[in-house]
């Protein structure tokens, strides 16, 4: 939604628009100015700028989100090993402290920029913008942004990515989409990770996780995989491949608008 044409007036907030116009004045000199602007407007502005930067270089940008320990870095390591001969990649790592994850990525021969957020529980568009100053996008096909491990806050901040991916690991439980709807609604793809643990953690039922995802009114695909055993990796890599191809063919004049996913299977 923009802040100019009135499309930001929703069923929910329409009554908050000041009756009698944008400015209303009382006898004591107090005036009310109607604004109706997204609170994160400054972040969204920088995110659009980042997205334009990715577009100009025909780079696909993917924001990986999950709780801590769901396997984001392990997924990246396995993905890099599978695709590094085909595509040129880089990773922006977000963590509160340490360069541990960036170190893990670099050991696989891929450039990694570490953002240490200190006490901040999420990445925002400004942090990613700063990181992009240290990353040469020329010649890259794909940039992964590994967000801070947190199922709450990262969902509220657009970074300028093309796709959001949310990981749900088997040990976390299959009802997380119902408990963290903001995060799972934001996802363009949901990966059920550590599927090798399904036989021992048999109270996690993938069909329940899928049902909870659908109850958030999202058609985002849900894949099961294990970065450890390689099971299910093909489906994920094929999805990624399609998205990279779509990013390469995306016209650059649509830079600031998030494009629709390359594939939008709508399960019934």
């Amino acid at each position: 939604m923009c802040d100019t044409c009135g499309c930001n007036v929703t069923h929910g907030n329409a009554h908050l628009v000041q009756p009698g116009g944008k400015l209303a004045r009382t006898d004591d000199g107090r005036e009310t100015v109607s604004v109706l602007r997204n609170l994160l407007h400054a972040n969204d502005h920088t995110a659009a700028h980042n997205r334009e930067h990715f577009h100009r270089h025909a780079v696909l940008a993917i924001n990986l989100m999950s709780s801590p320990g769901a396997g984001k870095t392990a997924l990246l390591e396995a993905t890099i090993d599978a695709l590094k001969d085909k595509f040129s990649m880089a990773v922006i790592e977000g963590d509160l402290e340490t360069e541990n994850d960036a170190g893990r990525i670099r050991r696989h021969g891929v450039e990694a920029i570490q953002i240490t957020t200190g006490s901040a529980c999420h990445l925002d568009a400004h942090m990613v913008h700063d990181a992009l100053h240290h990353l040469d996008l020329a010649g890259l096909d794909l940039v992964f942004i590994e967000n801070v491990g947190n199922l709450v806050c990262p969902a509220s901040f657009d970074l300028g990515q093309h796709r959001n991916i949310t990981l749900l690991s088997v040990p976390e439980g299959d009802d997380k989409p119902a408990k963290y709807p903001v995060m799972f609604r934001a996802a363009d793809l949901i990966l059920l990770t550590k599927s090798d643990l399904l036989p021992v953690l048999d109270d996690f039922r993938p069909e329940n996780a899928r049902r909870h995802v659908r109850e958030l009114a999202t058609a985002a695909p849900v894949f099961e995989l294990s970065a450890k055993t390689g099971a299910g990796m093909d489906e994920w890599l094929a999805w990624l491949h399609r998205e990279i191809t779509a990013a390469e063919q995306r016209p650059t004049d649509h830079a600031a608008t998030p494009a629709t996913p390359a594939t939008t299977p709508v399960p019934s």
Binding site: G12, N13, D28, E31, V33, L36, L39, H41, R185
Partner: protein, 133 residues
């Protein structure tokens, strides 16, 4: 706890409105928040004084209006109330719905007094969005 970052963004926006409207004082800030914005109203209220300290809104009140979650069904066409984690149609139960309210995170209104213009004269009805990056 990203509410402090949101409160800081709010103060930044109020500062822009204050400059555009030539405000002398910010009295009350109204925001509208839906549960699916990911921001907790109570935490935002707690973070607000920290973010407002030293700004033109330091003495301002914050009024948070919590907005309902409502969905429009693409199957039966009805609009119904929903829960944040259950966005299915309240009428036919289908999940093919579109959110019509509930993810808002907006600065809706600012109550202010203007610099040196007392109680007379109409304020220029400039769009609050003009001149913003």
């Amino acid at each position: 706890m990203h509410e402090l970052a949101v409160a800081q963004a709010l103060i930044e926006q109020v500062g822009i409105v204050a400059r555009q409207e030539n405000a002398d004082q910010i009295l009350v800030i109204h925001v509208g928040i839906g549960p699916l914005s990911g921001v907790e109203a109570q935490l935002l209220e707690q973070a607000f004084p920290l973010a407002a300290a030293g700004s033109i809104a330091a003495a301002a009140g914050l009024v948070v209006e919590q907005l309902p979650v409502r969905v429009s069904c693409r199957q039966c066409g009805r609009v119904s109330d929903a829960l944040p984690g259950q966005l299915v149609c309240g009428s036919c139960g289908d999940w093919h719905t579109t959110l019509v309210s509930g993810d808002e995170l907006q600065l809706t209104r600012v109550e202010l007094t203007r610099r040196g213009d007392g109680t007379t004269g109409a304020a220029p009805a400039r769009a609050a969005n003009d001149g913003v990056r």
